[in-house]
């Protein structure tokens, strides 16, 4: 029983996956808020996409009678898409270095998906994925929600897989 680099990778991945699970949950909540009218798509996209400059003041007059003013509570968690992709990419590289081929193979589809997703993003001057003008389209909204659920499931499963992998590496070496 020795503490190898592979075991270290699994431990790190375990921690980072926990973070990713948090991101996925946050993502699902964000889109649910959009769907249930709780948030303005501009504010929401500004929180989802990393923005350098502060978002413009939210629309003044449009709340009408249903008015639920949505103070964006998660200013600190702004721009979660790129961190998520980077974290995932990071531990893929770690597994590559540790020659954990099976684990790497399991992660490759998601990595490829991330690359594809980022390549096919709408025209934007800043990094980010979500366009406030199309995000309210029912198809896109449904797609994003489904994406969130699928990722949550994936991260949960991989969390337990990494746990198992870590113990296995620790025990077997």
């Amino acid at each position: 029983m020795a503490f190898t680099f592979a075991a270290f990778c699994y431990m790190l991945a375990l921690l980072l996956t926990a973070a990713l699970i948090f991101f996925a949950i946050w993502h699902i909540i964000a889109f649910d808020e959009l769907k249930t009218d709780y948030k303005n798509p501009i504010d929401q996209c500004n929180t989802l996409n990393p923005v350098s400059d502060p978002p413009p003041p939210s629309c003044v007059l449009v709340r009408g009678a249903r008015g639920v003013p949505g103070p964006s509570g998660s200013e600190g968690a702004r721009g979660l898409v790129l961190p998520e992709y980077l974290i995932h990419f990071f531990f893929c590289v770690m597994f590559f270095c540790a020659a954990e081929w099976l684990t790497l193979c399991l992660n490759l589809p998601l990595l490829a998906y991330h690359v594809w997703r980022y390549m096919s993003r709408p025209v934007m001057s800043c990094p980010g994925l979500y366009d406030p003008t199309t995000i309210m389209n029912a198809d896109i909204l449904a797609f994003c929600q489904k994406e969130g659920w699928c990722k949550l499931a994936f991260y949960l499963l991989s969390f337990f897989y990494y746990l198992y992998g870590m113990i296995y590496v620790l025990v077997s070496s």
Binding site: I28, I29, D32, L34, K35, T36, D37, N40, P41, I42, P56, P57, S58, C59, V60, L61, V62, R63, G64, A65, R66, P122, V123, M124, S125, D131, P132, T133, M136, N137, A138, D139, A142, F143, Q145, K146, W149
Partner: protein, 1000 residues
Amino acid sequence: MAVQHSSPTNGATHFHEHTSSRPPSKPCEPCCKLNSILQLGATSLLVPQCYPAPWPTDAPTSLHGYIQPGAAPQPMNPMVPNTYQPNRAPYGPPPTGPPPTMKPTSPPTGPPMANATPPPPKADAQCGWAVNSPLSPTEPDCQEEDIECPEPVAGNGPQAPNSYNHVDNKMAGPPQPGPPGRHLGHYPSLPPGYQNTSAPHNATPPMHPAMQAATQPYTQAPQPYQQPPVGPGPAQLSPSLAAMSLQSSTPEALRVVNLLQERNLLPPSPIPAPTPCLPQDLQKINCNPEVFRSTLTSIPQTQSLLNKAKLPLGLLLHPFKDLSQLPVVTSSTIVRCRSCRTYINPFVSFLDQRRWKCNLCYRVNDVPEEFMYNPVSRSYGEPHKRPEVQNATIEFIAPSEYMLRPPQPAVYLFILDVSHNAVETGYLNVFCQSLLDNINALPGDSRTKVGFITFDSTIHFYNLQEGLSQPQMLIVSDIEDIFLPTPDSLLVNLNECKELVQDLLKSLPTLFEKTMETQSALGSALQAAFKLLSPTGGRMSVFQTQLPNLGVGALQSREDPNQRASAKDIQYLSPATDFYKKLALDCSGQQVAVDLFLLSSQYCDLASLGCISRYSAGSVYYYPSYHHQHNPAQVECFQKDLKRYLTRKIGFEAVMRIRCTKGLSIHTFHGNFFVRSTDLLSLPNVNPDAGFAVQMSIEENLDDMQTVSFQAALLYTSSKGERRIRVHTLCLPVVNSLSDIFAGADVQAITGLLACMAVDRSVTASLSDARDAMTNASIDSLSSYRQSVLTIQQPGLLAPACLRLFPLFILALLKQKAFRTGTSTRLDDRVFAMCQLKYQPLAYSLLMIHPALYRIDDLTDEGALNINERTIPQPRLLQLTVEKLSREAAFLMDAGTVIYLWIGRNCNPTFLSQVLGVPSYAAVPDNLYLLPELDTAESQRTRAFIGWLRDQRPFFPSLHIIRDESQQKASFLQNMIEDRTESALSYYEFLLHVQQQISK
């Protein structure tokens, strides 16, 4: 966690599913299929028995074969439609499944088509758009007429040409060689009424029920509206009426039409919107179809039923349309449902005097005390007689709860391009003159503000502060970091500083006469304007004549002109930068709308620039090749459009919410706006010429509901600083059988919605994808009709009567500027056509899709409309094929934004001299843009007709008079949708393609 896991398969995705849901055996590339059809069509293998000859598609050969309508009408018997009526009984109505369930009290006078509410061009003309003044709420007579207004007076309406007259016109078709029996029902055919009289019943037995029914429509449907026609008297008409009422168990809309056999599908007059199958009392108060229209007038009960029908479900709205009579209610409490906030409307039910049940969420609400009193009748205790409950379209003056800040004043900011290129086009003169002429007609009150910014490579502001002796120009050359030199005096009160403004307008054209600056810093100018307007909100009008090439938002030319015709797929339909979109969203947040006037001869990247208007709810005007000397037609257009633009009604800081009965949900919006939430559109400005489309989906089954309702509520600040809410409510029946869904299909609305969906598809996917999707839409719906509704399978391409124009409209869309391929189309033209399809109200976009063709050298007063003492002749609509043209006549084609008057080579000399004022055909000038005002009856009729066509739309269509050999003939002939072109199918070939796909 309150997270809903919704399935993405819903009705509105129908459009998206085509490519994937098609069985693998059907390949998805129409291109290859089309090729094979071209070959098949040549040998006509598919329908050997039906086609004696292919359709003539070539002008010169077909033009000669024509008989002038008046010249040799074949003798005919006006009694014919009646005499064969008894014959039809044994064959019965076409097999169509059970009658609609929701027709208990529908009038027995005829099939739905016959009593459908026709479109009200007349009302439109009368009602005009200038009439903004709302009637006072206490005026009793305004209540009833609001919705009724558009209903035409029987017999006088445009849809009521004499049916025999109509038959007459049909006789102008190609003469029939050969024995009539043999060619019975074949394509270039006898007028419908005649086909069956001599029909040997054994010719093609399975086709007969359909054909017989098919022959009946246009000669009979209009009859109930007719004044006693010239031919038979009322006594002769009555048998046919009787026969029709006998037959009314089969809805007219479901009559089977074999598209391959029936050629003259176009009705003689504009197609009326179908009437929903509602009890008559509800139908009477339902929303005007011009304002609020659904693609399916019968809503399917479940999503799976909708998927089966393969028709798109959606709404088309024209919410801020100028209405002649609009009931306005002032009350301190606006009665709304407590849970879903629906405004009380005619379709709610009163449980008793004190309680009402919401028709959208079914909550039971209390009737407030105030509502018990009816100000119209000044009586107490009759809440159901209140105007709110009597009118499907109503306007409320909103109390202060509906404001988050004091209503904004009307603020207009004009941003003018004054680069060398702009000065060259000479638009500044026209603009300044128009604004000077209309400066008192700008909508507003004493608080109205105006401002001006001009720009080339620098930004020029104009200080118009009261007290200055003349306007002061301030130049900011730091375009990277724009600032406002004197923030307080750039936007000034129009009334206080009118003279300075007028001075400025008079001097502006000369100020930049000698400029040599060629660059354009549009982006910075827009940013400056945004800074100027953001404290108040308002309207920016941007005039741009070239590609912005300096500072932020600079664009590059992306179009390669050589690739226009040959390119496989059109690129660059999406914006190059998100600068304009982001700025538009900022504008939208600050209640600023941006209207774009693009006057350019070169590529301007409208796809990128247009975003500034699209997301800020502005409008886009485009005048390609505008020049004050070289293009007088465009100048006239620009002048007229500008006049309308400056004086039309405007609503500021608006939002529109669309609510619908529980179970339905909104899928996608189309138009110019920003979507704030699932059912809320943010519209910084709303104008009366903006249309919207909404795709709907059915999320929960609508079991045990008889009707569903849709409500569009538009909250806006009027130019007088009043906060107002305009509410439209539409009620539609729910059905559970496919045949009823098909019976309620509204082909025009479906086409309009499909066009919007196809525009989205071309931008997100590709143009060819969008074209495939449109073709598939027609194939799928007709094949679903064939499989699920028709019980007896017959050969041919069968469609229900209400969808008989569907393939034609789809083909028209495929040949529309926005979607056509193979023809050289400038990218900006294409993008502009796409914008128009998205934000034009249905009535206008339809003409751009399928232009109207009239013969106008023989206009008569017969069946004419009478509007304001003017007689407006109503010629018959002709099909868009060269076959209908004749060298001896003159034809008018109304293509929405442009009107062509084509003069045949051997045109009637009387027409030439009396209308055009020229002695002979050779003397017709080449570039003629207006008709001379001659004092002859013919000239008056023609001018009245063209004027009437123009009055029906808010923009000004220019008139092009073209001779047979003029250069513009090509653009005229491009609109001949039913003919074959080098790169596109003819209508008949398209039908064969559709048929082939269906029978696969």
